[in-house]
Symmetry: D2
Subunit: 354 residues, 4 copies
């Protein structure tokens, strides 16, 4: 009897999800003739009320490598561990579907759920997913390169306008707890100031950079991660609250910086919040290759019976760690990271006091 | 003695400005050996206190065709007609620089100033500039194709995320008084609903489209021009007020629509405001060709001594109209425009009551 | 009983075919509840031996607007007019399928076949398709803007390398009988020399431009249409011959120019032949809008019973002409076209003797 | 007295060269107030007859991060070690210019020259440069990611056309001795067959894949590195020979494969040779970050006096190796590389016998 393996995507959208789904499916179909069952809408499609699934064959995953989003849909709300009844129903559905194992592609929240379900007897292989590149134990995750490319292109567009008008332009990127996107896109887009959640910024130091540049280059481009805050300030960014009729708006960080900078400067200061465009679109070739490797590695773990582990990339090598060891935390930019040093050495301000 | 011609760019940034500057300069240098004087920061560089200029030669305009922004800088504040003293100083500077004529690349505001200066004796040729494609008398202006491409790409990114999450996604485009960008990018990006300043939308009709789609396609993409408003509502969009320490924020329109839609729907509604990225970046090949033709045509008008006219494109042909005939107004989307009809016929909602 | 309408795509691939298929289908489904039958592989799917078709519904055309190629497949070999038997079988199949009319999306070859079939009693509406933009009676066809964008991007890439090495770079574009692609992409890519089928080039004039530029700008970029030839020379370009085991290779033109130029110059001369990449890929937003309008217009003609006509664009307006009036010929670049004049006036060489 | 440091770019063009020049210059200017001397046209600008140089200051390197090519020009001919006289003149010029050290950005050929000059007393720091990603001791070089992205985009364009016509499409990539570009772009572009210099292909195995796909998916896309060859065959690719009036043409490999495949198949086979476009254009954000780090690292080596070493990247970490240890060889794809295994496991053919 062939293997019967489920696969789902959980949490926020991320370029490369389809590439993982495709690689898992092709690898399982080709190597062991498994039946692959796609589960819709994250854990929601397994939790019920009834399972929401569809079989995945060769044709289902043809042509999806370069498409953004996920053909299975996702959800960042469904949580089978919220109640005992939900957990039991979820496991019952997995059993009724005849799933011998489940591939979960998701962030640290999804991995925590995966760990919980695996402890209740469902064999699981996890694939890390985060555009923020901040999952502990995985040095580079798919979707991040695409997000950096999207932000870099936006910075380039803003730069020509900033230069034409002699303005200070602020662009706010994703990265609630880690500054990887702002850091790499800031370097790649030739930002003059890069502000990260990891380094509280000094508003007077930022203003000083803008004033100095106004003399020579006329304009300044500031790239700020949505989790950054001034020295002594509080984090103003807040998540969209899906259950609320009136969710808090993104962009608090850029607009707060704008309000603080404008009175200190003679030129105009403008803010742009990139928002959801950072999560969408076709993955870059780099991300397609990485996601394909992650997906294939997950299939190998399945076939070798190495369950309750998450695929990882460390020191440039694919491997895996136990789901129980996936730290529920955030891989921030270390303060001694070479790229921070590079930024300072070529003259990019990190908002630190002079 | 060679001709001595000034050139300046006024108003907001627009992809293709450098292509015009390059074509004017190359054409004048090559055909009549003119001296071309670039004026910095729009009318501000001529108004003073002292003139701010630099000579443009072959090398100055080499390699700028594909670059966004303007090598001369621009300003949407400087107005030499604000006072008699300003006007006189401006004309005195033009005289002192030995300018026999001036090329003004700008929007309807700049053309009004150009007309005023021409009446005071400064020979001027105007080149229309608007990413909104809304200058009366010019059926297609450079920068518009690029703005449409930028918005379309953003819509595509948002669409994959909307689909993955089963959401309603709202994207707000530029176009304060005319809906051209929202209309063309909406069609090109396969938006399900397109809301324009020209057609007040019915919030219940919009909600009905979202609900119907939620059954079949799971998600809805709404493209809204920043000047759109609901039936009976007031325009909520407001300009950035540069002189104010706390300018009004763009995005009023998208967020107002979001607030009105969310209570009517079961799924999540999210809004993205594209903002300044629409003004920047390298012009598309289409815009490079159009801007090059506009710039060359301006040079021909100069050489033929046809002053105080603005280059135009009508029925696909280059021509010119008197600056005095440039209507200070907005070329809106006519309600019988074929593209509106096409939209309706292929099933795109324009927010009209059923 | 609902209308039953067939649709097929004939001839070479072209970006925007799917956009036309989608607009025809959506418009017919929505406005008159027609049944739309997609025919595979151009006229081949109707000619047989047996018909090869599939019904097109709302879901079939969802998400295809931005995809290159054609979901129906195409063929540039199948010709139902080759023999009486073929023609009769084709019409018999159309009758058996219950087709009341047929939409044919294709070039001048396909329109000639469409005309022949319409004379034998099959009601047809044609939609012009050519990346070369050379169908008589249609001033702008979908796919052309995309081809120009692809070529322009390639020119930009080649330019940085030409400049770094101080070389002459030749890039060969499509356009066997008309130089539109080479002309617009040459202008948009800042080519120094543009050689078209319409103007035989003087090799010494071309060499002189390269030598003059070698002094100042170090490099020269030449954009040549595949149908161009030297004064007194013969056309060397030849089609791929599909029935031959060893088809003639594209690129004859670029390599012939290279061979003629190299002995006349001190620097290196290199040639790149872009080939099939010019036919593929996602259509630009401009082409998506144009193709959508063409498709919708074809549906309107069907519904109004205006058969045996081809959709056209003239003076910026959609319309139609009788299939019998579609001239079997090529819309070349007129020698007095404004863009040729612009090119000369800004200093681009068209290979004409000095 | 400030440091006086020269910098040059040698060998073929590569995206990211300007990013390295910018980082070296900014880092040296900012950290030790060095004078930075740009040397034109690779070693040619130092070798003479007279030195061809220009000082690089903050303004010289502003805005070049995202530009392809090299502002200094390059040469793959100049070799100061060709004769004793050349070497002495080169060193004399370096001395006359007061250079305390030289940064050489180049491939393994340039590093061999750098090593030779360093042995004669000129302190040198090398920065590895290769779009082929094949320098021994450096696991990822700038320019490679951009080349992969360019090739991937071309594959995507060709794929839509291949699918529309039911063809076999062959695309030839760079990579004379190493298959990295073909491998990564093949995976990222969803090629069905990937042929590398490292694995001689079996023509019958390739034909069998095409035939099997013709039944189900209609088309096949083959990505072949320019150094690949059939089992028992000879390498047919040859370099452009710059000194020859009639250089050998690139594309031998793709056209040879085409000629061998066509008689074995019923459908049409077409070949596209991408050529020089793979060397040009703006670097991807990934390459900008990598090149910036390489450039800054070179500046640190200079300032720490660690001469006659080349910057490297190993296990994800920046470091350096002695120029004398830079193996004059090629870093090929190891036959046990995980990406080869991944390719096979998801069903990509590497041209190996079944």
């Amino acid at each position: 009897m062939p293997l019967r393996i489920g696969i789902l995507t959980g949490g926020g959208d991320c370029p490369g999800l389809n590439a993982v789904i495709r690689a898992v499916t092709k690898s399982l179909l080709r190597q062991c003739g498994a039946e692959v069952i796609g589960i819709h809408d994250g854990f929601g499609g397994l939790m019920g009320p009834a399972p929401h699934v569809r079989p995945l064959d060769w044709a289902s995953v043809s042509g999806i490598l370069m498409r953004g989003g996920t053909i299975l849909g996702t959800s960042n709300r469904a949580n089978p561990l919220r109640s005992e009844a939900d957990a039991e129903r979820t496991l019952a559905h997995a059993h009724a579907l005849g799933l011998q194992a489940l591939v979960v592609i998701g962030g640290d929240g999804s991995m925590a759920i995966a760990h919980g379900l695996s402890q209740r007897g469902l064999p699981i292989v996890g694939v890390p997913k985060t555009i923020d590149n901040d999952i502990v134990g995985c040095e580079r995750s798919f979707g991040f390169d695409t997000a950096v490319a999207t932000v870099t292109e936006a910075i380039e567009r803003l730069q020509t306008t900033a230069e034409s008008h002699g303005r200070v332009m602020i662009v706010e990127t994703m990265g609630r707890y880690a500054g990887w996107i702002a850091l790499e896109a800031g370097i790649a887009g030739a930002a003059d100031v890069i502000l990260l959640p990891e380094i509280d910024y000094d508003i007077d130091a930022v203003a000083a950079v803008c004033r100095a540049r106004a003399q020579r280059q006329r304009y300044t481009l500031i790239c700020i991660g949505e989790g950054a805050k001034p020295v002594g300030g509080e984090r103003t960014v807040q998540a969209w609250l899906p259950d609320s009729p009136d969710p808090v708006r993104l962009g608090g960080v850029a607009h707060a910086l704008r309000a603080a900078l404008q009175p200190r400067l003679d030129c105009e200061v403008r803010a742009t919040v990139l928002g959801h465009v950072q999560r969408g679109g076709a993955p870059t070739p780099f991300d397609r290759v990485l996601a394909t490797q992650f997906g294939n590695e997950a299939a190998q773990l399945i076939m070798r019976g190495e369950f309750n582990r998450m695929v990882t990339l460390r020191d440039g090598r694919l491997g895996s760690i136990a789901l129980s060891d996936v730290v529920h935390g955030t891989r921030q930019v270390p303060l001694d990271h070479p790229l921070l040093r590079t930024a300072r050495q070529i003259g990019v301000s990190l908002g630190e006091p002079a």
